[in-house]
Symmetry: C2
Subunit: 309 residues, 2 copies
């Protein structure tokens, strides 16, 4: 099957391409990143266009390799902080790119299914306990607001033009190759032999941690929906919450040593106390999370030490 | 005061420019339309840029005439039907233009207040009776969905960057110069001496009709908010509902003659049975609608006959 991945050179994109190519699909990618042909092939891509998600590039891919049966749409802003520093850039990457993609599909490949990566950031900071897909979305940051607008655009093209879209709201995705956020920060400071790690917040913040290899398998598995609904939204979370202090302790245990963790008690404005998926829909689909947190953290530490050496 | 109007050459824009210039403001415009200098001045514009709402054009306006204290943002898609035929065009006009405007304001004129024209189409088709601003927004068409996204972008820039935005959700605006929609259609057919007018729908559809001259005065009056809230949404409707069959009868009465109106009974998919504003917020502000429907319809018929002759 011909499948395309936008943002294929990103953290999740690379793992997804690996998963899809491993399943025997012909995978083509478009997005930012100066990958040469050898590197593209190594990742599992049959071809790669380094550029915008726009009609010219999508036409070029189609002309060279045929129309896709599925598009995994991972291109978009990827940082709450950068979305506050440069909101228009985040808008362009997340919303405008999706509008161009959907419009191209409407005209050129209306039977292609879209699987779009959204974020738990659409839920905002006001939820307690597991959050169902039907919960009110009150995103705090431009990043979260733009992701919600991306979902709405998909919903609009699904409702008005029958484009089939599956939205997967991803939670706290971590794993090999993630070079930012909490785990990267902690490992970097462990590598620098800090004896006392002071982290922001209280340490009691709950997140739903998922290993990127499981997430890649999840995205691939929802591409062929069992139902005929043109539009659906799925929580891509495990339903298991772990506090930041437990994550830090787990990482340090895998790392070795007896580094002490302290928390500043100062939270970033708008940082949710809890972002935990209600996983009822995923359980109904029958998806199985395979990489428990302990193993995921061990793999992350092993990758970190390996890439740093 | 320096004020700018985007989409100043549109139906509502022209009336708004007239209102603002009459109040003594220095009014500048940007949007589509090949207005020459004489025509611009006649409309009340001190200057006009025929082009996109983008940083280059906004910079040019600011360099030539100084920064605005208020921007009335009326540029955007203006037709449900066209939004279904060409959804990306509607997205570009409504959402992408707003993103560019807000980003420019953030960098270049953060103290400028924005007054943005939205639409009752954001409410969708499921409401009965007066609709409050807090009602759930379930827009049906790309037009309504994009208007909602425009509102969300304004809310995002208000919340994250303190840009002051007032959203006015307009209902069924009619009046001199409106050359489309129900009133135009009926008058055109009366002018063609059709003896029996067959209209779509049941005739019982309720709309909240407002004369564009009142709407222009409303937009100008909410530009200086009494409260300090960075973001607010206001229904720009009168709170009075009138059925399509009563509008048709009123128009025919003003026109003269005894044309008969029939209704096909066939409604357009997604066409709401009722779009009526809860006007509590406007009443609290103290806004007074001055042009009753009878006078508005009489003026419309007089304008129609005058422009046609």
């Amino acid at each position: 099957m011909i499948v395309w991945v936008t943002g294929a050179n990103g953290f999740i994109g690379r793992h997804l391409v690996h998963e899809l190519a491993g399943a025997g699909h012909a995978v083509h990618g478009v997005g930012h990143g100066a990958l040469d042909a050898a590197e593209s092939r190594r990742l599992g891509l049959q071809s790669w266009i380094n550029g915008e998600i726009d009609a010219a590039n999508l036409n070029a891919l189609a002309a060279a390799h045929g129309l896709p049966a599925q598009i995994f749409h991972l291109a978009g802003g990827s940082s709450v902080g950068i979305s506050i520093e440069r909101p228009f850039e985040d808008f362009s990457r997340t919303v405008a790119s999706t509008a161009r993609l959907l419009e191209w599909l409407r005209g050129s490949a209306p039977n292609c299914a879209v699987i779009a990566a959204s974020s738990a950031a659409v839920y905002g900071a006001d939820h307690v306990g597991p959050i169902a897909e039907s919960a009110i979305a009150t995103p705090m940051s431009p990043y979260g607001k733009h992701k919600l607008m991306m979902e709405q655009l998909c919903g609009s093209y699904a409702q008005s033009f029958g484009i089939r879209c599956t939205i997967v709201r991803l939670f706290s995705v971590y794993g090999p190759n993630l070079r930012k956020q909490l785990l990267w920060d902690i490992c970097s400071r462990l590598a620098a032999k800090e004896q006392v790690l002071t982290l922001g917040g209280t340490g009691n913040e709950i997140r739903d941690w998922t290993d990127v290899r499981d997430v890649a398998r999840l995205l691939a598995s929802v591409a062929t929906p069992s139902s005929q609904a043109a539009f659906r939204v799925i929580n891509g979370g495990s339903g298991r919450g772990t506090s930041v202090s437990d994550i830090a302790a787990g990482l340090i245990r895998q790392w070795g040593g007896n580094t002490v963790v302290r928390h500043s008690g100062v939270s970033r404005p708008g940082d949710p106390l809890s972002l935990l998926a209600d996983d009822a829909v995923l359980r109904q689909i029958g998806f199985d999370w395979r990489i428990p947190l302990d193993r995921g953290l061990a793999d992350y530490v092993a990758w970190f030490k390996g890439q740093a050496s």
